[in-house]
Symmetry: C2
Subunit: 324 residues, 2 copies
């Protein structure tokens, strides 16, 4: 039994890792002397942009859908997403032979819309400024009897995303700091759970765009704050509020929330292009941007940072690396 | 004692691996279900674009310079290169505290010129259409008493590059085929030596641009052929003849030489951007291009392929991934 309302434990992350074995990539960890020189620390980048479908989201989606009953699988799944969760659910559903309907904003990056279709999912588009996606998805789930796969507020999703930090800490011992981008908080909550379980003294930070600082505001206040849809190039972090399930975990386990500007995200994407030879999408560059911008003093420290995804339209990417 | 004229043995590659331990990155091997579906095989990509300075060239350069005597180190090194070898020598020399002069064509990619300068090397530019770089470099070596570090025709360089295949075969068992890009043949010869030593039944193929098929012609004829400077986007493969030392190794150990078009290289770079989230330079995409273009029937086979580098100007890369 999984779902909202149930707490997430380290054992759930271990169980997720078992489910994902041989299905998800165990993504590489890369280092850069240039990055170390820039930050003064020793930085280990966990490359979830090299995950299947190009982002960590596959982990949570697969972990969630794999736990459906046979009857639930036959009725299929519904998800709403600005992009990577859509692809994650579509691919996981395809692998598990489950029909999937994805509700996507009509202004989602073309590459993400196309990839989601390619994984065999049915797509329903909506206008993110005038329509409430949760209501659309809930109605669809009701009409079709399909199971809703939420993007972050779900124990199985959080546990799946937590396998990112689990692998990183298995591969790299003695991390002092872990920096994780956050939208709704699924990756951050899952990674905080895994990291603190394996290494209680670690300091885990979330990073979000300045324009979408709902997590930072909520963290400062101690309770969930709602903001308008943020205008940022980080299309994976346009959430308006931390998750109900993710926020208490983040509040309990994290050391703080950092914010980065869109320019900082662009500079981090260029750094990843020039120095790391990695394609990173705007949201995926948030943790790297926080380090490059000195948002945290990591001098002399061993720092894990998650590059969360690499799904970005060619035209947009071309403009950004060319300095646009 | 290293240098041209001396044969290269598998033990030299093992010794190079020891020298490079903790200095070079052990680069990750990535897989893609999409690539497997496209080729019908199971493909393992060794990501030397994620090597220090962005290409495999660092391995050979470091292995060569590390074997200089103290007196030779004080007099410094000279190298000639269209790009990545320059950076490899510059970085290796910097790490080993050896002065370096690099002779580079004036039309080398700006990113490669800048990076070479950044590693602290002195750069001398020349016109590749009217001047003979070997003569310039040899004169410089003579005037300054510096040791020449050739880009491929050197036992220590070949042994260093061979560590790429050594690592790949250590990480992935039972490869049937290995596909390696080739310019002068240092990477190909070194990888063929390592691969055949570890797995005698493996079929090793070289890949070069159609316009610069000096290796293919030479392989077909059984002796080294000289061609005019080839016009191709693969700036790392504009050699006019296989190496004196590399060719006999390739002739003895390889199964064949494949060629790919510039359009094939561009398509492979786009595939790497869209599907692999890896920045790959034109030459670095040659082995991938050969597989994507079906230049070799690999259905049902386990295939290693080397992505050799990722150093490409942002403007050029932007144009290529945008379909230009």
């Amino acid at each position: 039994m999984t779902g909202i309302g149930r707490d997430v434990a380290f054992d759930d992350i271990l169980a997720a890792a078992e489910r994902l074995r041989g299905v998800a990539h165990r993504t590489p960890v890369v280092t850069s002397r240039t990055l170390d020189a820039r930050t003064g620390g020793r930085v280990f980048l966990k490359c979830e942009n090299l995950q299947r479908m190009g982002a960590f989201k596959f982990r949570g989606a697969y972990n969630r859908i794999a736990q459906l009953t046979d009857a639930e699988r036959r009725r299929g799944v519904v998800a709403f997403s600005s992009g990577n969760h859509a692809q994650g659910v579509a691919l996981a559903a395809q692998l598990l032979d489950v029909p999937a309907v994805i509700v996507m904003p009509s202004d989602a990056p073309a590459a993400k819309l196309a990839a989601t279709r390619e994984y065999g999912a049915e797509i329903i588009e909506y206008d993110r400024n005038t329509m409430n996606r949760n209501e659309i998805a809930a109605r669809l789930a009701l009409e079709r009897g399909a199971a809703l796969v939420p993007p972050y507020d779900d124990a199985a999703i959080i546990a799946g995303q937590g396998t990112v930090a689990l692998e990183l800490l298995q591969d790299v011992a003695d991390l002092d700091v872990l920096v994780v981008c956050t939208g709704g908080g699924g990756l951050l909550a899952g990674c905080a759970l895994a990291a603190v379980a394996l290494r209680p003294e670690i300091a885990v930070y979330g990073v979000e765009p300045e324009a979408g600082d709902d997590f930072a505001q909520s963290f400062a206040l101690g309770e969930r704050v709602e903001i308008p849809v943020p205008q940022t190039i980080a299309d994976g972090q346009q959430t308006t509020s931390p998750g109900e399930l993710t926020f208490p975990i983040v509040k309990r386990l994290c050391a703080g929330i950092l914010t980065v500007s869109d320019d900082g995200l662009r500079a981090a994407m260029r750094f990843a292009f020039e120095r790391l030879k990695l394609v990173v999408e705007p949201s995926g560059a948030a943790a790297l941007a926080a380090l490059l911008d000195g948002k945290l003093d990591v001098s002399g420290k061993r720092v894990g940072a998650i590059i969360s995804g690499g799904n970005v339209d060619a035209a947009r990417y071309a403009a950004i690396i060319s300095g646009g």
